[in-house]
Symmetry: C2
Subunit: 198 residues, 2 copies
DNA sequence: CACAAAAACCAACACAGTGTTGAAAAACCA
DNA sequence: TGGTTTTTCAACACTGTGTTGGTTTTTGTG
């Protein structure tokens, strides 16, 4: 599972400072403007050493994103032992609390300074989870189901992004309730009128 | 409005071939791997000439995105003369038809090969439109309104992405109906059970 | 502790892309 | 045609890339 345990101390340190420096730089500028030289200068690591561990900046980013992703997945596996494949408000609130814990890195990976890979991974995870839990349920059609999941997944990601951008002022409980309302009754439950009409 | 009219023929041609080549390359690889040299080689334009018109690849991309964006805005201004600030199913279907017309460039700008700028611009446009039309309506709170718009905007973008990826097999009319259902009654109208529960 | 293995460092390399220059050639428009 | 604008061209210094072979340093272990 955790490969850092059997790692050489030197490797552990090197990877750590490289990652720290890279994240620091990502806060300042888009990944397209970040050079390997720059990362090495900041982390005081030889450029040759960087190449020994990563192919380039994008490889480094992917590794960081994957690490966070597996961490999220393991968290979800521990906390979503719900019956019948639905998520309770309490669990949802826990998930928002977890995001709050990891706010710095989450908001960074969902920001404009990086690519959409992390967002896509989250969407995909949501998808797989929906497929597995919805398999037993009746739905209008296979096609619509896919679109429903997509709308909800992107809606949730967008709301999470906004929440993070605003500094998470809205309480996690309210966020959980909001998501439930949006995914169950939709706009009708929150505003008097819809945006669109027939 | 259209600045191409008063442009020198040579400028018009140069910009055209550069844009064509750039879009061609964007179909093949992410923008991060595209060099100015490459664009110039493909379009048979001197590199100095490129610098006379654009700062770099990203500047070029922005200009292309802005052009498409202003085109979309002018289209919407012509077609959404709806009363009371809501969009009819017919208008929504027209919008989907328009997206279908511009499918190649839209799907490209929403793909992983480019940044999230275009997506953000669309979201922002949706936002401004909502603010102006919702101004007169009663809502639970200012804060929730913002979140509702965000959820819907991202949901719509996600569905449009998916629709484009699938080659737009689902008819525009069905897409319009789907969006209306999602933004009015939400999941409850389409499936027997919600993903989340209280 | 000592020693073999592994990792990091170093200097140097060829190569490619960048952004800018000044001047010549070509194309434009009136 | 003639003056203007644009493109082209060759050359420039500079920066980042990715890889080399060899040296130094650090590590885990018997």
């Amino acid at each position: 599972m955790d490969k850092t345990s059997k790692m050489d101390r030197r490797v552990k340190y090197t990877k750590m400072v490289i990652k720290e420096s890279f994240i620091k730089l990502l806060h300042e500028k888009p990944i397209t403007k970040i050079t390997i030289r720059e990362i090495c200068d900041l982390s005081d690591v030889n450029r040759t050493t960087f190449y020994a561990h990563y192919h380039d900046q994008y490889d480094l980013l992917r590794q960081l994103q994957n690490e966070l992703m597996t961490e999220i997945v393991s968290y979800l596996n521990q906390h979503t032992t719900d019956r019948a494949g639905t998520v309770s408000a309490e669990t949802l609130e826990e998930i928002f609390s977890y995001i709050k814990e990891k706010a710095e890195i989450c908001s960074l990976f969902l920001s404009d300074n990086v690519d959409t890979n992390f967002e896509n991974q989250v969407i995909k995870l949501f998808h797989e989870w929906c497929i597995s839990t919805w398999a037993s349920k009746r739905l209008n059609s296979k096609l619509d189901m896919e679109y429903i999941y997509t709308f909800s997944a992107y809606g949730c990601i967008g709301v999470i992004k906004k929440w993070l951008d605003e500094g998470m002022v809205k309480p996690t409980g309210e966020m959980a309730d909001f998501i439930i309302k949006m995914t169950s009754q939709g706009l009708g439950s929150l505003s008097q009128q819809s945006i669109f009409h027939t």
